[in-house]
């Protein structure tokens, strides 16, 4: 019998670096020199701050290039960088530096932002904690998704991809262990989560679960 699913919540401890970028050259310099936690914040943890589906792009750097520098080409390129595809922050950093360097190479003048549109560099640490909420069956988990805090979704999907050795989300890992249909597991794992915000992710998860809900109800009764 599988252990119940343990729900975690998380919170960010944000720190300002006291460092600001006003132009693309400063962004390049920052990308080379800032601590890993800064890149982590602006490329990964920033998902926790997109409340309204406001943003065209899934990371702060792409957003700033678009909105602050009006460099749409670089914004599009940075928007396509999926940090979860990189084995380490060092590799991610190289990719970012390469893109910015390449862009600067072709420009006569580095683009600047207007005053008030600067990028304030931040770092953050994720603190996760056990909420003591438990879901004993796949059906209970599916039902809980609808009202789960967005921060928990972040922890069990985005953060899980970096935390777990299989680089997968906690939901599908637990369901697989529970013995549900491999199709549902595959369906959950196919969600292109990085390009979704947390509200959209919740909808995608619900859609996947609903598709399999009758089966999940059967699992819950212990007949599988």
């Amino acid at each position: 019998m599988a252990e119940p699913f343990a729900l975690y919540d998380c919170s960010l401890a944000r720190r300002a670096m006291g460092r600001v970028c006003s132009n693309l050259r400063e962004l390049l310099d920052a990308s080379r020199t800032v601590p890993d936690a800064v890149l982590e914040h602006h490329l990964l943890h920033c998902t926790l701050e997109d409340y309204f589906e406001l943003y065209e792009f899934p990371n702060d750097l792409a957003r700033w290039c678009w909105e602050g520098l009006s460099d749409n080409i670089l914004a599009e390129q940075l928007g396509l960088v999926d940090p979860y595809r990189y084995a380490s922050i060092a590799e991610l950093r190289s990719a970012i530096i390469n893109l910015i360097e390449d862009r600067l190479w072709g420009l006569e003048r580095a683009p600047w932002c207007r005053p008030g549109r600067e990028l304030y560099l931040m770092s953050s640490r994720l603190i996760a904690y056990d909420t003591c909420e438990r879901y004993p069956t796949p059906a209970a988990l599916a039902e809980a998704i609808e009202r789960m805090p967005l921060r928990s979704l972040y922890y069990h999907v985005y953060e899980a991809h970096r935390r777990t050795s299989e680089h997968t989300d906690d939901f599908s890992a637990w369901l697989e262990n529970y013995g549900v249909s491999p199709t549902l597991v595959a369906r959950l794992r196919s969600i292109d989560f990085y390009f979704l915000n947390l509200t959209q992710l919740r909808q995608e998860l619900l859609q996947a679960f609903r598709q399999y809900l009758p089966e999940l109800a059967t699992v819950a009764k212990g007949t599988l």
Binding site: R14, R15, A16, F52, I127, Y129, E159
Partner: protein
């Protein structure tokens, strides 16, 4: 009923439950907050709820207040203004007085603790006069925008920071480069306070009648000091641009008396002159404790303005959003964190921009209502005291575990 249970009705039981879980790891920790007043002002308001809530969560939290002669407060008021970039003139004897008052208070106050949070510049030198070992960690909590301070003031305060292990600011844009960790914790509002709690419809209507505002005609509102940076003249201009299209429109500019502020008094005179004898334009001077009146006005407005040219965090914006009102805000300071175009209101850069966006909101009632709902939920998620408390608890855990990256507790 315990205090946390009362907040449960607003933020939901899960949020409170999660706060309890987070705080379990900090049970028994001795925390002291130090500021310069027990009543009046935003810091005292925050500590007024934060201390009892921390205590309910099992943390041994206390509140100490420094005291000094009247001249001390003149000096620290100058620090406050100078930190925000205003020109101030201080003598060496003023800095000496600041040291001396801190030295005396360090002897008098009970500061033994795991962490002491020192709020704003007034008590900032306490660590220099406190015996080693009495306090494990000192954290400076700066509630002011310190990004462009007067040099002499900053140098004086920066020296004090050598004894600290960390700082907290409200926004990254309010910081300067420091060698210490600079945690970012935005401020919050208390949904149960007089200014933000729900009020009876009869009270709301009585308030409007008392102030000479017609309840069934649309009301625009700005609640702010009469200060050039809050641009009250720009608000009047926006209102005048709209009036030909919406003759029923009313505007209320609400502020406090400016007796001790010559610049404020001059601004107020200018605002009064510009308002002229328009019966639909009210300039209201309210006492500092008129929280319920402001509450009623904010709930009665069709759109709330905060057309600042320079702003701190802008908690009046938070208050308006909490009451389900779209906000037209100047694109500066903390307003940009709260007002998001087409979601919670509009950021504007001119009086014409404000008039244009208000016209849009007057025309599209459903969109206006929808934006109001979104704003309310946005504040519930990001700017209520429960989030503020969670940020503090998270930071405390972070300080207890300085080495790891992501932390699972």
């Amino acid at each position: 009923m315990r205090l946390l249970d009362r907040y449960e009705e607003v933020v939901g039981s899960r949020e409170i439950q999660h706060l309890r879980r987070l705080a379990e790891r900090l049970a028994g920790k001795r925390i002291v907050h130090v500021n310069s007043t027990r009543t009046g002002g935003g810091v005292a308001e925050i500590l007024g709820w934060m201390i009892p809530l921390m205590q309910e969560l099992g943390i041994d939290a206390r509140w100490e207040v420094i005291s000094g002669p009247p001249d001390f407060y003149r000096v620290t008021k100058a620090f406050h203004n100078g930190l925000q970039g205003q020109p101030v003139s201080l003598r060496q004897s003023d800095f000496d007085l600041h040291y001396e008052v801190n030295r005396e208070n360090a002897k008098r106050l009970s500061l033994e603790a795991d962490i002491v949070f020192v709020h704003d510049p007034q008590p900032i030198y306490l660590p220099h006069f406190t015996p080693d070992g009495k306090v494990k960690r000192w954290i400076w909590r700066c509630h002011i925008d310190a990004s462009q301070p007067q040099r002499a003031i900053w140098k004086h305060l920066e020296c004090a920071l050598s004894k600290y292990q960390g700082t907290i600011f409200s926004m990254a844009a309010f910081t300067r480069h420091l060698e210490l960790p600079m945690f970012i914790i935005p401020p919050s509002i208390d949904p149960l306070s007089e200014k933000n709690c729900s009020i009876a419809e009869t009270e709301r209507l009585e308030t409007l009648t008392r102030l000479g505002i017609v309840p069934d005609r649309p009301l625009l509102l700005q609640v702010s000091r009469f200060d050039r940076f809050k641009d009250p003249l720009g608000v009047i201009e926006a209102y005048r641009l709209l009036k030909p299209y919406y003759p029923e429109l009313q505007l209320a500019l609400v502020g406090g008396p400016a007796d001790d502020d010559p610049e404020g008094a001059a601004m107020l005179r200018e605002v009064m002159e510009r308002a002229g004898d328009d019966p639909d334009l009210k300039i209201l001077m309210l006492p500092p404790d008129a929280h319920r009146t402001i509450n009623a006005l904010q709930r009665s407005a069709i759109v709330v303005l905060q057309k600042s040219l320079r702003e701190g965090f802008g908690l009046t914006v938070t208050e308006a959003l909490w009451k389900g009102k779209p906000v037209i805000g100047g694109a500066c300071g903390g307003i940009t964190l709260q007002v998001h175009d087409y979601h919670t209101g509009f950021l504007v850069h001119s009086s014409a921009g404000a008039a244009y966006r208000i016209r849009y909101l007057l025309r599209y009632v459903e969109k206006r209502n929808r934006m109001g709902q979104i704003g309310h939920e946005f504040v519930r998620e990001h700017f209520l005291l429960t989030r503020h408390l969670r940020d503090y608890l998270t930071m405390l855990l972070c300080l207890d575990h300085p080495d790891s990256c992501s932390l699972i507790v």
